[in-house]
């Protein structure tokens, strides 16, 4: 594959795209605000002394609804795409996605436990109740991933192929457990479960946002530091070892960062498919396989793509809303097919 776009050009382009996505995400919504009001409210939110006269509505919509939603989209999109790169690097397989190590299915299981079993926890203090779903999803993702990692280890070494198969087996197992909970659920909880599985940035609030922002910032700062090691890993595990890379440590870091990042993203926004799979491919098509470019560029591309998908989700059926997972899968699945067919040709 040739490298048609120079990294510098790519980063400028992606940064502009991201800024555009942020602006559109703030400016567009079912409530139509005059452009000038949006601009003035945005500047006021940044702390500029602007006359608040007549801006109450714009400020409320922007500050309480669109800004937290935009931040959520940025964090979720960025961290999902980044984890996708990490997984494709780890498995040295372009069809890998974060679900492969069990984090998604584990989170789904945690969510099912929280949603269906939620009534059992009815006595929880009010401070915990609203966060039960997120907490269970996060812990479920982390737990299943830890198990997959543990199963892949033999004689102090992590066998990637074993880990892959263990991931598939545990995903199936978690899937059947979710099925069981689906069977036990009543009508109302069933609907909640279904919608959770389709993901949404709807109802984002600052109190739910900051744990995700912290985690995704940490992952986004940490993983790009391992770009050279990931490049070496592309050559093969023993080759990377000969180049002086601590391969076992690298694998551990990759799995841990993915579990943490995707777990937090899924806990905050539900299941959002295909971003982790498709975005790294898109960037690779544009800029080639060098992880020094791929990692940071994927963050920008993932964040922008999710914001655009969210625009479709909130505008397509306004005043109702489409779950964002439908939009991303609708774009993602055909692209995936295109990749498959192109590879065959």
């Amino acid at each position: 594959m040739t490298t048609p776009v120079r990294p510098k050009t790519l980063f400028i382009g992606l940064a502009l795209l991201c800024v555009l996505a942020i602006w559109l995400s703030l400016a567009l919504g079912p409530v139509s605000l005059p452009l000038l009001d949006t601009l003035r409210a945005a500047l006021r939110l940044m702390g500029l002394p602007i006359d608040p006269q007549g801006l109450e509505q714009a400020e409320l919509i922007l500050g309480q609804i669109r800004l937290p939603r935009t931040l959520l989209g940025l964090a979720v999109g960025g961290v999902l795409a980044l984890s996708g790169v990490a997984m494709q690097g780890l498995f040295r397989n372009p069809l890998a996605d974060p679900g492969l190590v069990g984090v998604s299915s584990g989170a789904a299981l945690g969510a099912a436990v929280a949603i269906v079993g939620g009534s059992l926890f009815g006595g929880l203090p009010d401070a915990v109740g609203p966060y039960l779903l997120s907490l269970c999803a996060f812990l479920g993702g982390l737990g299943v991933t830890a198990l997959v990692y543990r199963l892949g280890r033999r004689n102090g070494q992590t066998h990637v192929a074993t880990m892959l198969l263990a991931g598939i087996a545990l995903t199936a197992l978690a899937g059947s457990a979710v099925g069981l909970f689906t069977y036990l659920a009543d009508d109302a909880t069933l609907r909640t479960l279904t919608f959770w599985n389709l993901g949404s940035l709807n109802g984002a609030s600052y109190s739910r946002l900051w744990p995700l922002l912290l985690v995704s910032a940490a992952v986004a700062l940490w993983l790009p530091r391992r770009a050279k090691a990931l490049n070496a890993l592309l050559l093969g595990e023993s080759e990377a070892g000969h180049l002086g890379i601590d391969v076992e440590g690298l694998k551990r870091e990759l799995v841990f960062c993915t579990a943490l990042g995707v777990g937090a993203a899924v806990a905050a926004a539900g299941m959002i498919g295909f971003v982790g799979l498709v975005v790294p491919h898109l960037v690779r098509l544009l800029a080639g396989p060098d992880h020094r470019v791929l990692l940071p560029a994927s963050i920008l591309a993932g964040a922008s793509l999710l914001l655009f998908a969210d625009l479709v989700a909130r505008l397509a059926l306004a005043p109702a809303e489409l779950p964002i997972g439908i939009v991303t899968a609708f774009i993602g699945a055909p692209f995936f097919l295109y990749l498959l067919l192109r590879g065959r040709a």
Binding site: R66, A188, N202, G203, R208, R314, P319, A320
Partner: protein
């Protein structure tokens, strides 16, 4: 322009409803509950509705209103774009962060209980009547409702003195295929009980049935609620997709009753007494014939 509109609203309000402070009453309503929407319409507030959720299917005219989506998956900005003054819904309405955002934008969010009992309905109707400035009508509707239910109940008691309660199964399906059987803790279970049927299903919630267990239950009456088809088409589809049902005593004796599936959502609605009478008539056929 706005002044003119509110002036018209004031005059109309005063004409329709003397004594109420029409100008203080909310004029833009969004409803996120099927039964509540029906009650608002029954109380004469249909013209104030500017948006409804997907469970609001009656009266027919509300289907033309903007849809705010499913009651549990509301979008704050979507609702705000309708510039409502009041958002009504049952405790099923959500998610909670969205309700908080809507409330934060100055919209009055009114939660009603979907508990299927008369005291709850009484409270709900009084509350709705107050919000719509039509308390007298609300009281009148409730007493009519109570009366209809009492009448149905006494007719039922009379019927039960001569006939045994029939064994009933309620099948909730989509164009006949793979119907779910209503068990305990469902609105359907409550409905069957009120109509004097003995639900043969002992599980909780709506569950798919196995042909074998169904054969062992031998229901006297089948009630079907189909989301896609109605009337004869739904009945034919049900038996075509599930031949095992044709062997039940209910099918052999032609005791198959239809039920509108929208009755099963969101608490007691205004169409309920009528449906109960219809169900009871299906459960106790001779009684229905002797009744005037």
């Amino acid at each position: 322009m706005r002044l003119c509109t509110s002036a018209i609203a004031l005059v109309v309000g005063l004409l329709v409803n003397p004594g109420a402070h029409a100008s203080e009453l909310p004029q833009r309503w969004v409803s996120a509950g099927g039964a509540l929407t029906e009650w608002v319409a029954a109380l004469g507030g249909e013209s104030t509705l500017v948006g409804v959720d997907t469970t609001s299917q009656h009266p027919e005219s509300v289907k033309a209103l903007p849809s705010i989506g499913y009651q549990r998956q509301l979008s704050a900005e979507g609702i705000l774009s309708l510039r409502p003054q009041v958002l009504i819904g049952t405790e099923e309405m959500g998610p909670p962060p969205v309700l908080a955002q809507v409330r934060g934008a100055g919209v009055q969010v009114e939660m009603f209980s979907a508990q299927p009992d008369l005291p709850t309905l009484k409270g709900n109707l009084e509350h709705l009547g107050k919000l719509l400035g039509n308390e007298a009508k609300a009281r009148q509707l409730f007493s009519g409702y109570e009366q209809a239910l009492n009448q149905q109940k006494s007719a039922l008691v009379k019927a039960q003195s001569t006939q045994q309660a029939p064994g009933v199964l309620l099948l909730l399906g989509h164009a006949g295929g793979k119907p779910l059987i209503a068990g305990k803790d469902t609105a359907a279970y409550w409905l069957l009980q009120q109509a004097g049927g003995h639900n043969l299903a002992t599980h909780t919630g709506y569950k798919p049935f196995s042909a074998e267990s169904l054969a062992g239950l031998s229901p006297d009456v089948l009630v079907f609620a189909d989301r896609a088809l109605t009337g004869e088409a739904a009945r034919a589809a049900l038996f075509k997709e599930n031949p095992i049902l044709a062997a039940t005593p209910a099918a052999k004796n032609g005791r198959v009753v239809e039920l509108d599936p929208t009755l099963l959502v969101g608490g007691l609605g205004p169409r309920l007494p009528q449906s109960l009478v219809k169900l009871s008539a299906g459960f106790y056929p001779s009684q229905a014939e002797s009744a005037p």
